[in-house]
Protein backbone atom coordinates (compact mmCIF):
# COMPACT_ATOMS: atom_id res chain seq x y z
CA UNK A 1 0.00 0.00 0.00
CA UNK A 2 1.44 3.27 -1.08
CA UNK A 3 0.38 6.73 -2.05
CA UNK A 4 2.23 8.51 -4.80
CA UNK A 5 2.01 10.95 -7.65
CA UNK A 6 2.22 9.35 -11.04
CA UNK A 7 1.11 9.88 -14.62
CA UNK A 8 -1.50 8.69 -17.04
CA UNK A 9 -0.05 6.55 -19.85
CA UNK A 10 -3.21 6.39 -21.94
CA UNK A 11 -6.93 6.94 -21.61
CA UNK A 12 -9.31 5.69 -24.26
CA UNK A 13 -13.02 5.29 -24.75
CA UNK A 14 -13.63 1.58 -25.29
CA UNK A 15 -17.42 1.60 -25.48
CA UNK A 16 -19.84 4.55 -25.31
CA UNK A 17 -19.28 6.07 -21.86
CA UNK A 18 -16.66 3.50 -20.79
CA UNK A 19 -12.98 4.37 -20.62
CA UNK A 20 -9.84 2.38 -20.09
CA UNK A 21 -6.90 4.14 -18.50
CA UNK A 22 -3.34 2.94 -18.19
CA UNK A 23 -1.36 4.43 -15.32
CA UNK A 24 2.32 4.17 -14.44
CA UNK A 25 2.22 2.26 -11.15
CA UNK A 26 5.48 0.99 -9.65
CA UNK A 27 5.02 -1.87 -7.22
CA UNK A 28 1.57 -2.93 -8.37
CA UNK A 29 2.43 -5.90 -10.53
CA UNK A 30 4.14 -7.63 -7.64
CA UNK A 31 1.70 -6.60 -4.95
CA UNK A 32 -1.80 -6.19 -6.32
CA UNK A 33 -4.23 -9.06 -6.05
CA UNK A 34 -7.34 -9.60 -8.15
CA UNK A 35 -10.28 -7.77 -6.60
CA UNK A 36 -8.22 -5.03 -5.02
CA UNK A 37 -8.78 -1.38 -5.85
CA UNK A 38 -7.12 2.01 -5.92
CA UNK A 39 -8.21 5.44 -4.70
CA UNK A 40 -7.69 7.75 -7.65
CA UNK A 41 -7.23 11.51 -7.56
CA UNK A 42 -6.82 14.03 -10.32
CA UNK A 43 -4.08 16.27 -9.04
CA UNK A 44 -4.81 19.92 -8.32
CA UNK A 45 -8.44 19.25 -9.04
CA UNK A 46 -10.98 20.32 -6.42
CA UNK A 47 -13.78 19.42 -6.84
CA UNK A 48 -13.97 16.55 -6.62
CA UNK A 49 -12.83 16.70 -3.03
CA UNK A 50 -12.66 13.01 -2.30
CA UNK A 51 -10.75 10.36 -4.18
CA UNK A 52 -12.64 7.92 -6.32
CA UNK A 53 -12.33 4.13 -5.87
CA UNK A 54 -11.71 1.94 -8.94
CA UNK A 55 -11.05 -1.75 -9.23
CA UNK A 56 -7.80 -2.86 -10.81
CA UNK A 57 -8.49 -4.26 -14.26
CA UNK A 58 -4.98 -5.58 -14.78
CA UNK A 59 -1.34 -4.93 -13.99
CA UNK A 60 1.66 -5.37 -16.24
CA UNK A 61 4.98 -4.15 -17.51
CA UNK A 62 5.63 -1.74 -20.34
CA UNK A 63 7.88 -2.88 -23.15
CA UNK A 64 11.36 -2.08 -21.83
CA UNK A 65 12.97 1.21 -22.87
CA UNK A 66 16.36 1.05 -24.53
CA UNK A 67 17.77 2.92 -21.54
CA UNK A 68 18.77 -0.24 -19.72
CA UNK A 69 16.43 0.61 -16.82
CA UNK A 70 14.17 -2.13 -15.50
CA UNK A 71 10.82 -2.23 -17.34
CA UNK A 72 8.10 -0.03 -15.88
CA UNK A 73 5.00 -1.36 -14.14
CA UNK A 74 1.51 -0.13 -14.93
CA UNK A 75 -2.06 -0.76 -13.92
CA UNK A 76 -5.18 -0.38 -15.96
CA UNK A 77 -8.55 0.72 -14.72
CA UNK A 78 -11.79 0.67 -16.68
CA UNK A 79 -14.41 3.17 -15.68
CA UNK A 80 -17.84 4.35 -16.60
CA UNK A 81 -18.53 8.07 -16.72
CA UNK A 82 -21.29 8.70 -14.18
CA UNK A 83 -20.62 11.98 -12.39
CA UNK A 84 -18.31 14.80 -11.48
CA UNK A 85 -15.13 12.82 -10.96
CA UNK A 86 -15.36 10.47 -13.91
CA UNK A 87 -16.31 13.39 -16.16
CA UNK A 88 -13.03 15.05 -15.27
CA UNK A 89 -11.19 11.75 -15.70
CA UNK A 90 -12.39 11.26 -19.25
CA UNK A 91 -10.52 14.41 -20.27
CA UNK A 92 -7.15 13.22 -18.98
CA UNK A 93 -4.34 12.64 -21.43
CA UNK A 94 -1.01 10.88 -21.54
CA UNK A 95 1.39 12.57 -19.16
CA UNK A 96 -1.26 14.17 -16.93
CA UNK A 97 -0.39 13.96 -13.26
CA UNK A 98 -2.60 12.00 -10.93
CA UNK A 99 -2.32 10.43 -7.49
CA UNK A 100 -2.81 6.80 -6.71
CA UNK A 101 -3.39 5.17 -3.34
CA UNK A 102 -3.28 1.41 -3.30
CA UNK A 103 -3.49 -1.45 -3.84
CA UNK A 104 -6.28 -1.50 -1.26
CA UNK A 105 -8.68 -3.96 0.31
CA UNK A 106 -9.13 -7.69 0.31
CA UNK A 107 -9.09 -9.39 -3.07
CA UNK A 108 -10.61 -12.62 -4.32
CA UNK A 109 -9.59 -15.95 -2.88
CA UNK A 110 -8.30 -17.80 -5.94
CA UNK A 111 -9.27 -21.23 -4.62
CA UNK A 112 -7.86 -24.51 -5.92
CA UNK A 113 -6.91 -25.15 -9.56
CA UNK A 114 -9.06 -28.27 -9.85
CA UNK A 115 -12.35 -26.55 -9.03
CA UNK A 116 -14.98 -25.43 -11.48
CA UNK A 117 -15.35 -21.66 -11.39
CA UNK A 118 -18.06 -19.37 -12.64
CA UNK A 119 -17.38 -15.66 -12.88
CA UNK A 120 -20.45 -13.43 -13.12
CA UNK A 121 -20.03 -9.79 -14.07
CA UNK A 122 -22.63 -7.12 -14.69
CA UNK A 123 -21.59 -3.99 -16.60
CA UNK A 124 -18.68 -2.26 -14.94
CA UNK A 125 -18.60 -5.19 -12.50
CA UNK A 126 -16.59 -7.04 -15.11
CA UNK A 127 -13.51 -5.01 -14.18
CA UNK A 128 -12.13 -6.97 -11.22
CA UNK A 129 -13.09 -10.26 -12.86
CA UNK A 130 -10.56 -9.72 -15.59
CA UNK A 131 -7.62 -9.76 -13.25
CA UNK A 132 -9.22 -12.68 -11.43
CA UNK A 133 -9.57 -14.66 -14.66
CA UNK A 134 -5.99 -13.85 -15.53
CA UNK A 135 -4.73 -15.19 -12.22
CA UNK A 136 -6.77 -18.38 -12.24
CA UNK A 137 -4.52 -21.38 -12.77
CA UNK A 138 -6.95 -23.51 -14.64
CA UNK A 139 -8.72 -21.35 -17.17
CA UNK A 140 -10.23 -24.36 -18.88
CA UNK A 141 -12.46 -25.01 -15.88
CA UNK A 142 -13.50 -21.35 -15.59
CA UNK A 143 -16.51 -19.77 -17.30
CA UNK A 144 -17.33 -16.09 -17.47
CA UNK A 145 -20.90 -14.86 -17.67
CA UNK A 146 -21.10 -11.28 -18.87
CA UNK A 147 -24.30 -9.31 -18.41
CA UNK A 148 -25.40 -5.81 -19.26
CA UNK A 149 -28.38 -3.72 -20.22
CA UNK A 150 -27.30 -3.28 -23.81
CA UNK A 151 -24.35 -4.30 -25.98
CA UNK A 152 -22.56 -1.11 -24.93
CA UNK A 153 -22.29 -2.46 -21.39
CA UNK A 154 -20.48 -5.62 -22.49
CA UNK A 155 -16.97 -4.31 -22.23
CA UNK A 156 -13.57 -5.91 -22.80
CA UNK A 157 -15.02 -9.13 -24.28
CA UNK A 158 -12.05 -9.65 -26.57
CA UNK A 159 -9.65 -9.31 -23.66
CA UNK A 160 -11.47 -12.02 -21.76
CA UNK A 161 -11.61 -14.27 -24.80
CA UNK A 162 -7.90 -13.79 -25.36
CA UNK A 163 -7.32 -15.18 -21.87
CA UNK A 164 -8.89 -18.43 -23.00
CA UNK A 165 -11.85 -18.21 -20.66
CA UNK A 166 -15.14 -19.49 -22.04
CA UNK A 167 -17.50 -16.49 -22.09
CA UNK A 168 -21.28 -16.24 -22.27
CA UNK A 169 -22.90 -12.91 -23.02
CA UNK A 170 -26.40 -11.83 -22.17
CA UNK A 171 -28.06 -8.43 -22.48
CA UNK A 172 -31.40 -7.27 -21.16
CA UNK A 173 -32.40 -5.88 -24.55
CA UNK A 174 -30.95 -8.77 -26.53
CA UNK A 175 -28.65 -6.46 -28.48
CA UNK A 176 -25.76 -8.83 -27.86
CA UNK A 177 -25.74 -12.51 -26.88
CA UNK A 178 -28.70 -14.07 -25.14
CA UNK A 179 -31.64 -11.82 -24.27
CA UNK A 180 -32.30 -11.61 -20.55
CA UNK A 181 -30.53 -11.45 -17.24
CA UNK A 182 -27.12 -12.91 -16.57
CA UNK A 183 -28.65 -14.78 -13.65
CA UNK A 184 -30.62 -17.01 -16.06
CA UNK A 185 -27.34 -18.14 -17.48
CA UNK A 186 -25.89 -18.67 -14.01
CA UNK A 187 -28.81 -20.91 -13.09
CA UNK A 188 -28.10 -23.12 -16.13
CA UNK A 189 -24.36 -23.22 -15.56
CA UNK A 190 -24.77 -24.16 -11.91
CA UNK A 191 -26.94 -27.07 -12.97
CA UNK A 192 -24.17 -28.16 -15.29
CA UNK A 193 -21.32 -27.54 -12.79
CA UNK A 194 -22.90 -28.10 -9.41
CA UNK A 195 -19.55 -28.03 -7.57
CA UNK A 196 -18.52 -24.66 -8.96
CA UNK A 197 -17.36 -21.69 -6.90
CA UNK A 198 -19.00 -18.44 -8.01
CA UNK A 199 -17.35 -15.03 -8.14
CA UNK A 200 -19.61 -12.07 -8.79
CA UNK A 201 -19.38 -8.33 -9.22
CA UNK A 202 -22.07 -6.00 -10.46
CA UNK A 203 -25.06 -3.95 -9.40
CA UNK A 204 -26.70 -4.80 -6.10
CA UNK A 205 -29.91 -6.32 -7.53
CA UNK A 206 -27.78 -8.65 -9.65
CA UNK A 207 -25.64 -9.66 -6.67
CA UNK A 208 -28.75 -10.26 -4.67
CA UNK A 209 -30.16 -12.60 -7.31
CA UNK A 210 -26.80 -14.33 -7.69
CA UNK A 211 -26.69 -14.87 -3.95
CA UNK A 212 -30.15 -16.45 -3.95
CA UNK A 213 -29.25 -18.81 -6.77
CA UNK A 214 -25.96 -19.80 -5.15
CA UNK A 215 -27.65 -20.35 -1.82
CA UNK A 216 -30.16 -22.66 -3.53
CA UNK A 217 -27.37 -24.58 -5.16
CA UNK A 218 -25.21 -24.43 -2.04
CA UNK A 219 -22.46 -23.00 -4.24
CA UNK A 220 -19.72 -21.03 -2.50
CA UNK A 221 -19.90 -17.37 -3.54
CA UNK A 222 -17.49 -14.45 -3.37
CA UNK A 223 -18.88 -11.02 -4.19
CA UNK A 224 -17.17 -7.73 -4.75
CA UNK A 225 -19.16 -4.77 -3.41
CA UNK A 226 -19.23 -1.05 -3.99
CA UNK A 227 -19.78 1.55 -1.30
CA UNK A 228 -19.31 5.26 -0.88
CA UNK A 229 -15.80 5.76 0.39
CA UNK A 230 -13.90 8.69 1.84
CA UNK A 231 -10.57 7.22 2.97
CA UNK A 232 -10.29 3.73 1.45
CA UNK A 233 -8.13 2.52 4.34
CA UNK A 234 -10.55 1.80 7.18
CA UNK A 235 -10.20 5.13 8.98
CA UNK A 236 -13.45 6.98 8.28
CA UNK A 237 -15.98 4.16 8.67
CA UNK A 238 -18.01 5.64 5.86
CA UNK A 239 -18.08 2.56 3.65
CA UNK A 240 -19.62 0.00 5.93
CA UNK A 241 -22.01 -2.71 4.90
CA UNK A 242 -24.19 -4.86 7.13
CA UNK A 243 -22.55 -8.13 8.13
CA UNK A 244 -24.20 -11.47 8.78
CA UNK A 245 -26.12 -11.40 12.01
CA UNK A 246 -26.68 -7.67 11.83
CA UNK A 247 -29.75 -6.36 13.57
CA UNK A 248 -30.96 -3.09 15.02
CA UNK A 249 -30.04 -4.37 18.48
CA UNK A 250 -26.73 -6.00 17.61
CA UNK A 251 -25.53 -4.04 14.64
CA UNK A 252 -22.58 -5.50 12.86
CA UNK A 253 -20.91 -3.39 10.24
CA UNK A 254 -18.01 -4.38 7.99
CA UNK A 255 -15.74 -1.94 6.19
CA UNK A 256 -16.04 -2.43 2.45
CA UNK A 257 -12.65 -0.83 1.90
CA UNK A 258 -10.71 -2.96 4.32
CA UNK A 259 -12.69 -6.12 5.14
CA UNK A 260 -13.86 -6.06 1.50
CA UNK A 261 -14.51 -5.15 -1.22
CA UNK A 262 -14.56 -8.93 -1.75
CA UNK A 263 -16.64 -10.81 0.79
CA UNK A 264 -17.68 -14.40 1.12
CA UNK A 265 -21.44 -14.38 0.76
CA UNK A 266 -21.86 -15.83 4.28
CA UNK A 267 -20.16 -12.81 5.81
CA UNK A 268 -22.90 -10.47 4.66
CA UNK A 269 -26.43 -9.74 5.71
CA UNK A 270 -28.32 -10.36 2.50
CA UNK A 271 -31.74 -9.50 3.83
CA UNK A 272 -30.72 -5.90 4.16
CA UNK A 273 -28.25 -5.41 1.37
CA UNK A 274 -30.94 -4.48 -1.08
CA UNK A 275 -32.47 -1.76 1.05
CA UNK A 276 -32.73 1.48 -0.87
CA UNK A 277 -30.42 3.33 1.49
CA UNK A 278 -27.65 0.97 0.53
CA UNK A 279 -27.73 2.60 -2.85
CA UNK A 280 -24.68 4.80 -3.23
CA UNK A 281 -26.10 7.59 -5.33
CA UNK A 282 -25.52 6.19 -8.74
CA UNK A 283 -24.72 2.59 -7.75
CA UNK A 284 -24.92 0.50 -10.82
Amino acid sequence: MKNYKTIVLSNQEISPGYYRMQILAPGYDAQARAGQFVMFRVQRSLPPLLRRPFGIFRTGFLAPDCDGMPPKEFIEIVYKVVGLGTEIMQDLHQGDQIELLGPLGRGFDLGAPDEDKILVGGGIGLVPLYMLAEKLDNKARSRLLMGGRTRDDIITVTEFERLGVETYVSTEDGSLGEEGLVTQVLERKLQKYPQATVYACGPMPMLDAVQRICANHKAPLQVSLEALMACGVGACLGCVVKGAGHSEETPRYLCTCKQGPVFNAEELDWRQLDEPQQDCGGCR
Binding site: K2, L49, G232, K258, Q277
Partner: protein
Protein backbone atom coordinates in the same frame (compact mmCIF):
# COMPACT_ATOMS: atom_id res chain seq x y z
CA UNK B 1 6.26 9.22 -10.77
CA UNK B 2 7.74 10.83 -7.68
CA UNK B 3 7.29 9.90 -4.06
CA UNK B 4 5.81 12.92 -2.34
CA UNK B 5 8.41 14.95 -0.62
CA UNK B 6 9.27 18.48 0.21
CA UNK B 7 12.23 18.63 2.63
CA UNK B 8 14.70 21.23 1.51
CA UNK B 9 18.24 20.01 1.49
CA UNK B 10 19.87 23.27 2.43
CA UNK B 11 22.06 24.00 5.39
CA UNK B 12 19.63 26.65 6.66
CA UNK B 13 19.02 26.54 10.40
CA UNK B 14 15.76 24.67 10.89
CA UNK B 15 13.19 26.53 12.98
CA UNK B 16 12.07 25.27 16.36
CA UNK B 17 8.72 23.57 15.81
CA UNK B 18 7.88 22.27 19.30
CA UNK B 19 4.83 23.68 21.01
CA UNK B 20 3.86 23.26 24.65
CA UNK B 21 0.52 23.75 26.32
CA UNK B 22 -1.75 22.14 28.84
CA UNK B 23 1.14 20.02 30.05
CA UNK B 24 1.67 18.59 26.57
CA UNK B 25 4.89 18.91 24.65
CA UNK B 26 4.45 18.30 20.94
CA UNK B 27 7.16 17.85 18.32
CA UNK B 28 5.19 20.19 16.10
CA UNK B 29 1.69 21.67 16.14
CA UNK B 30 0.14 19.28 13.61
CA UNK B 31 -2.09 16.33 14.51
CA UNK B 32 -5.02 14.48 12.96
CA UNK B 33 -8.61 15.39 13.84
CA UNK B 34 -10.60 12.72 15.62
CA UNK B 35 -12.52 10.35 13.38
CA UNK B 36 -10.41 10.98 10.33
CA UNK B 37 -7.40 8.91 11.30
CA UNK B 38 -8.96 5.79 12.78
CA UNK B 39 -6.91 4.52 15.70
CA UNK B 40 -3.65 5.51 14.03
CA UNK B 41 -2.85 2.12 12.58
CA UNK B 42 -5.00 2.61 9.49
CA UNK B 43 -2.72 5.32 8.11
CA UNK B 44 0.54 4.03 9.51
CA UNK B 45 1.74 2.63 6.20
CA UNK B 46 1.33 6.04 4.54
CA UNK B 47 2.65 8.41 7.16
CA UNK B 48 5.23 7.95 9.90
CA UNK B 49 3.33 8.50 13.13
CA UNK B 50 6.57 9.66 14.72
CA UNK B 51 6.47 12.71 12.46
CA UNK B 52 3.24 13.99 13.97
CA UNK B 53 2.74 16.39 16.84
CA UNK B 54 0.26 13.95 18.33
CA UNK B 55 -2.12 11.20 17.32
CA UNK B 56 -5.81 11.81 18.04
CA UNK B 57 -8.03 8.74 18.05
CA UNK B 58 -11.55 8.14 16.82
CA UNK B 59 -14.09 9.10 19.50
CA UNK B 60 -14.58 6.40 22.12
CA UNK B 61 -17.57 5.58 24.25
CA UNK B 62 -18.12 3.42 27.29
CA UNK B 63 -19.49 0.56 25.27
CA UNK B 64 -18.79 -0.26 21.61
CA UNK B 65 -21.02 1.77 19.29
CA UNK B 66 -22.31 0.47 15.98
CA UNK B 67 -22.91 3.76 14.25
CA UNK B 68 -25.56 4.81 11.78
CA UNK B 69 -27.08 3.03 8.80
CA UNK B 70 -25.64 3.78 5.37
CA UNK B 71 -25.14 5.93 3.37
CA UNK B 72 -22.99 7.67 5.92
CA UNK B 73 -21.08 10.11 3.74
CA UNK B 74 -21.84 12.49 0.91
CA UNK B 75 -19.53 14.77 -0.98
CA UNK B 76 -20.59 18.41 -1.25
CA UNK B 77 -18.94 21.40 -2.92
CA UNK B 78 -15.75 22.09 -1.01
CA UNK B 79 -16.63 19.66 1.72
CA UNK B 80 -18.27 16.45 2.80
CA UNK B 81 -21.08 15.42 5.08
CA UNK B 82 -20.69 12.52 7.45
CA UNK B 83 -23.06 10.74 9.75
CA UNK B 84 -20.86 7.89 10.88
CA UNK B 85 -22.73 7.86 14.15
CA UNK B 86 -19.58 7.64 16.25
CA UNK B 87 -19.02 3.97 15.51
CA UNK B 88 -16.17 2.80 17.74
CA UNK B 89 -14.79 -0.25 19.52
CA UNK B 90 -15.48 1.09 23.00
CA UNK B 91 -12.98 2.30 25.55
CA UNK B 92 -11.99 -1.11 26.92
CA UNK B 93 -11.29 -2.66 23.54
CA UNK B 94 -9.37 0.48 22.65
CA UNK B 95 -7.14 0.10 25.69
CA UNK B 96 -6.51 -3.60 25.16
CA UNK B 97 -6.43 -3.80 21.34
CA UNK B 98 -5.56 -0.40 19.92
CA UNK B 99 -3.26 1.24 22.48
CA UNK B 100 -0.47 -1.36 22.15
CA UNK B 101 0.02 -0.39 18.52
CA UNK B 102 0.23 3.31 19.36
CA UNK B 103 2.68 2.60 22.19
CA UNK B 104 5.27 1.59 19.60
CA UNK B 105 5.62 5.26 18.70
CA UNK B 106 6.95 8.08 20.80
CA UNK B 107 4.19 10.45 19.72
CA UNK B 108 1.73 11.60 22.37
CA UNK B 109 -1.65 9.91 22.11
CA UNK B 110 -4.72 12.07 22.61
CA UNK B 111 -7.87 10.04 23.09
CA UNK B 112 -11.11 11.57 21.91
CA UNK B 113 -14.20 10.41 23.82
CA UNK B 114 -17.89 11.06 24.37
CA UNK B 115 -20.94 9.82 26.22
CA UNK B 116 -24.69 9.83 26.10
CA UNK B 117 -24.93 11.06 29.68
CA UNK B 118 -22.63 13.09 31.88
CA UNK B 119 -21.95 9.95 33.93
CA UNK B 120 -20.89 8.02 30.86
CA UNK B 121 -18.45 10.78 29.95
CA UNK B 122 -16.98 10.65 33.44
CA UNK B 123 -16.71 6.88 33.41
CA UNK B 124 -14.85 6.78 30.09
CA UNK B 125 -12.47 9.46 31.35
CA UNK B 126 -11.86 7.52 34.54
CA UNK B 127 -10.95 4.38 32.63
CA UNK B 128 -8.52 6.26 30.43
CA UNK B 129 -7.01 8.07 33.38
CA UNK B 130 -5.12 4.93 34.33
CA UNK B 131 -3.62 4.23 30.92
CA UNK B 132 -0.01 5.40 31.20
CA UNK B 133 0.64 6.23 27.55
CA UNK B 134 -2.45 8.32 27.02
CA UNK B 135 -1.09 11.86 27.02
CA UNK B 136 -4.37 13.72 27.14
CA UNK B 137 -8.08 13.37 26.57
CA UNK B 138 -10.17 15.30 24.09
CA UNK B 139 -13.79 15.49 25.10
CA UNK B 140 -16.31 15.76 22.26
CA UNK B 141 -19.31 17.66 23.66
CA UNK B 142 -21.20 17.76 20.37
CA UNK B 143 -23.31 14.81 21.49
CA UNK B 144 -26.94 14.76 22.50
CA UNK B 145 -27.62 14.26 26.18
CA UNK B 146 -30.08 11.37 26.17
CA UNK B 147 -31.11 12.20 29.74
CA UNK B 148 -32.16 15.71 28.77
CA UNK B 149 -34.27 15.41 25.67
CA UNK B 150 -31.33 14.97 23.38
CA UNK B 151 -30.10 18.56 23.69
CA UNK B 152 -26.48 18.65 22.62
CA UNK B 153 -24.18 19.23 25.63
CA UNK B 154 -22.10 21.74 23.73
CA UNK B 155 -25.01 23.98 22.79
CA UNK B 156 -26.10 24.59 26.39
CA UNK B 157 -23.47 26.42 28.42
CA UNK B 158 -24.77 25.02 31.70
CA UNK B 159 -24.84 21.45 30.39
CA UNK B 160 -21.33 21.95 29.04
CA UNK B 161 -20.17 23.27 32.38
CA UNK B 162 -21.71 20.39 34.27
CA UNK B 163 -20.36 17.60 32.13
CA UNK B 164 -16.87 19.07 31.95
CA UNK B 165 -16.83 19.57 35.75
CA UNK B 166 -17.83 15.97 36.30
CA UNK B 167 -15.12 14.68 33.99
CA UNK B 168 -12.57 17.01 35.57
CA UNK B 169 -13.19 15.40 38.95
CA UNK B 170 -12.32 11.98 37.62
CA UNK B 171 -9.37 12.92 35.42
CA UNK B 172 -5.81 13.88 36.26
CA UNK B 173 -4.57 13.98 32.67
CA UNK B 174 -4.84 17.13 30.57
CA UNK B 175 -8.39 17.68 29.40
CA UNK B 176 -9.07 19.23 26.00
CA UNK B 177 -12.70 20.10 25.36
CA UNK B 178 -13.83 20.17 21.74
CA UNK B 179 -16.54 22.69 20.95
CA UNK B 180 -19.37 22.57 18.48
CA UNK B 181 -19.71 25.51 16.06
CA UNK B 182 -23.49 25.20 15.92
CA UNK B 183 -24.16 27.90 18.51
CA UNK B 184 -25.11 31.56 18.54
CA UNK B 185 -22.15 32.66 20.62
CA UNK B 186 -19.26 30.29 21.06
CA UNK B 187 -17.60 32.60 23.58
CA UNK B 188 -20.22 31.66 26.13
CA UNK B 189 -19.53 27.95 25.75
CA UNK B 190 -15.79 28.54 25.79
CA UNK B 191 -16.05 30.47 29.02
CA UNK B 192 -18.23 27.79 30.61
CA UNK B 193 -15.74 25.11 29.68
CA UNK B 194 -12.85 27.17 31.02
CA UNK B 195 -14.68 27.72 34.29
CA UNK B 196 -15.38 24.02 34.55
CA UNK B 197 -11.68 23.24 34.57
CA UNK B 198 -10.68 22.33 31.03
CA UNK B 199 -6.97 22.61 30.23
CA UNK B 200 -7.43 23.43 26.57
CA UNK B 201 -10.12 23.96 23.97
CA UNK B 202 -10.22 22.50 20.49
CA UNK B 203 -12.59 23.70 17.80
CA UNK B 204 -14.43 23.28 15.54
CA UNK B 205 -16.36 20.08 15.28
CA UNK B 206 -18.48 19.77 12.13
CA UNK B 207 -21.33 22.10 11.18
CA UNK B 208 -24.73 20.49 10.84
CA UNK B 209 -25.74 20.05 7.23
CA UNK B 210 -27.96 18.14 4.86
CA UNK B 211 -27.95 17.19 1.21
CA UNK B 212 -30.74 15.80 -0.95
CA UNK B 213 -30.58 13.42 -3.87
CA UNK B 214 -32.92 15.22 -6.27
CA UNK B 215 -33.71 12.10 -8.29
CA UNK B 216 -34.80 9.90 -5.39
CA UNK B 217 -35.83 12.94 -3.29
CA UNK B 218 -34.20 11.34 -0.27
CA UNK B 219 -31.61 12.82 2.02
CA UNK B 220 -28.21 11.66 0.82
CA UNK B 221 -27.43 10.43 4.32
CA UNK B 222 -29.52 7.71 5.94
CA UNK B 223 -29.36 9.80 9.10
CA UNK B 224 -30.82 12.76 7.14
CA UNK B 225 -28.47 15.26 8.69
CA UNK B 226 -24.73 15.04 9.12
CA UNK B 227 -21.61 17.01 9.90
CA UNK B 228 -20.05 19.25 7.30
CA UNK B 229 -16.25 19.30 7.15
CA UNK B 230 -13.60 20.27 4.63
CA UNK B 231 -12.07 23.42 3.14
CA UNK B 232 -15.41 25.17 2.65
CA UNK B 233 -15.90 25.59 6.42
CA UNK B 234 -12.45 27.01 7.11
CA UNK B 235 -13.49 30.69 7.26
CA UNK B 236 -16.09 29.81 9.88
CA UNK B 237 -13.53 27.84 11.89
CA UNK B 238 -10.94 30.62 11.72
CA UNK B 239 -13.50 33.15 12.91
CA UNK B 240 -14.58 30.96 15.84
CA UNK B 241 -10.99 30.18 16.79
CA UNK B 242 -10.22 33.89 16.77
CA UNK B 243 -13.22 34.62 18.99
CA UNK B 244 -12.34 31.90 21.48
CA UNK B 245 -8.68 32.92 21.66
CA UNK B 246 -9.84 36.46 22.45
CA UNK B 247 -12.20 35.21 25.15
CA UNK B 248 -10.44 32.59 27.23
CA UNK B 249 -6.96 32.18 28.65
CA UNK B 250 -6.85 28.49 27.76
CA UNK B 251 -4.69 27.28 24.91
CA UNK B 252 -6.70 26.58 21.79
CA UNK B 253 -6.32 23.94 19.05
CA UNK B 254 -7.70 25.05 15.68
CA UNK B 255 -9.61 22.64 13.43
CA UNK B 256 -11.61 23.00 10.25
CA UNK B 257 -10.77 22.68 6.59
CA UNK B 258 -7.01 22.62 6.99
CA UNK B 259 -5.56 21.20 3.78
CA UNK B 260 -2.28 23.05 3.37
CA UNK B 261 0.31 24.81 5.52
CA UNK B 262 -1.25 28.14 4.51
CA UNK B 263 -4.49 27.02 6.09
CA UNK B 264 -2.79 25.89 9.29
CA UNK B 265 -1.04 29.24 9.45
CA UNK B 266 -4.34 31.11 9.51
CA UNK B 267 -5.24 29.32 12.73
CA UNK B 268 -1.81 29.75 14.29
CA UNK B 269 -1.74 33.45 13.45
CA UNK B 270 -5.13 34.06 15.09
CA UNK B 271 -3.72 32.35 18.15
CA UNK B 272 -4.19 28.58 18.02
CA UNK B 273 -1.29 26.70 19.65
CA UNK B 274 -1.78 23.67 17.46
CA UNK B 275 -3.99 22.47 14.65
CA UNK B 276 -5.83 19.31 13.68
CA UNK B 277 -6.17 18.07 10.14
CA UNK B 278 -9.33 16.13 9.34
CA UNK B 279 -10.91 15.63 5.94
CA UNK B 280 -7.60 16.39 4.23
CA UNK B 281 -6.27 13.00 5.35
CA UNK B 282 -8.83 11.28 3.16
CA UNK B 283 -7.90 13.32 0.14
CA UNK B 284 -4.19 12.95 0.72
CA UNK B 285 -2.78 10.59 3.36
CA UNK B 286 0.39 12.61 3.07
CA UNK B 287 -1.31 15.91 3.89
CA UNK B 288 -0.07 16.26 7.47
CA UNK B 289 3.47 15.40 6.53
CA UNK B 290 3.41 17.99 3.77
CA UNK B 291 1.90 20.58 6.09
CA UNK B 292 4.66 20.02 8.67
CA UNK B 293 7.36 20.40 6.02
CA UNK B 294 5.74 23.47 4.50
CA UNK B 295 5.28 25.10 7.90
CA UNK B 296 9.00 24.70 8.50
CA UNK B 297 9.77 26.12 5.09
CA UNK B 298 7.44 29.04 5.68
CA UNK B 299 9.29 29.83 8.91
CA UNK B 300 12.62 29.67 7.10
CA UNK B 301 11.40 31.91 4.29
CA UNK B 302 9.97 34.43 6.72
CA UNK B 303 12.99 34.29 9.01
CA UNK B 304 11.03 32.90 11.94
CA UNK B 305 13.25 30.86 14.27
CA UNK B 306 10.54 29.48 16.51
CA UNK B 307 7.04 28.70 15.36
CA UNK B 308 5.77 29.98 18.69
CA UNK B 309 6.79 33.46 17.52
CA UNK B 310 4.05 33.19 14.92
CA UNK B 311 1.25 32.17 17.21
CA UNK B 312 -1.25 34.92 17.93
CA UNK B 313 0.50 37.52 15.81
CA UNK B 314 -2.62 38.67 13.98
CA UNK B 315 -2.31 42.35 13.03
CA UNK B 316 -5.54 44.17 13.70
Amino acid sequence: MTEMQGQRTTSVQRPRMEVEFAGLRLRNPVMPASGTFGYGEEYSSFIDLNQLGAVVTKGLSLRPKAGNPTPRIAETTGGMLNAIGLQNVGVDAFISQKMPFLEQYHTPVIVNFFGNTAEEYAEVAARLNDVPNVAALEMNISCPNVKHGGIVFGTEPQAAYDVVSLVRERLDKPLIVKLTPNVTDIRVTAKAVEDAGADAISLINTLTGMAVDVKTRRPRLANQIGGLSGPGIRPIAVRLTHQVVQTVKLPVIGIGGIFRAMDALEFLIVGARAVQVGTANFVDPNAMSQIITDLENFCIDEGIEDINDLIGTLQL
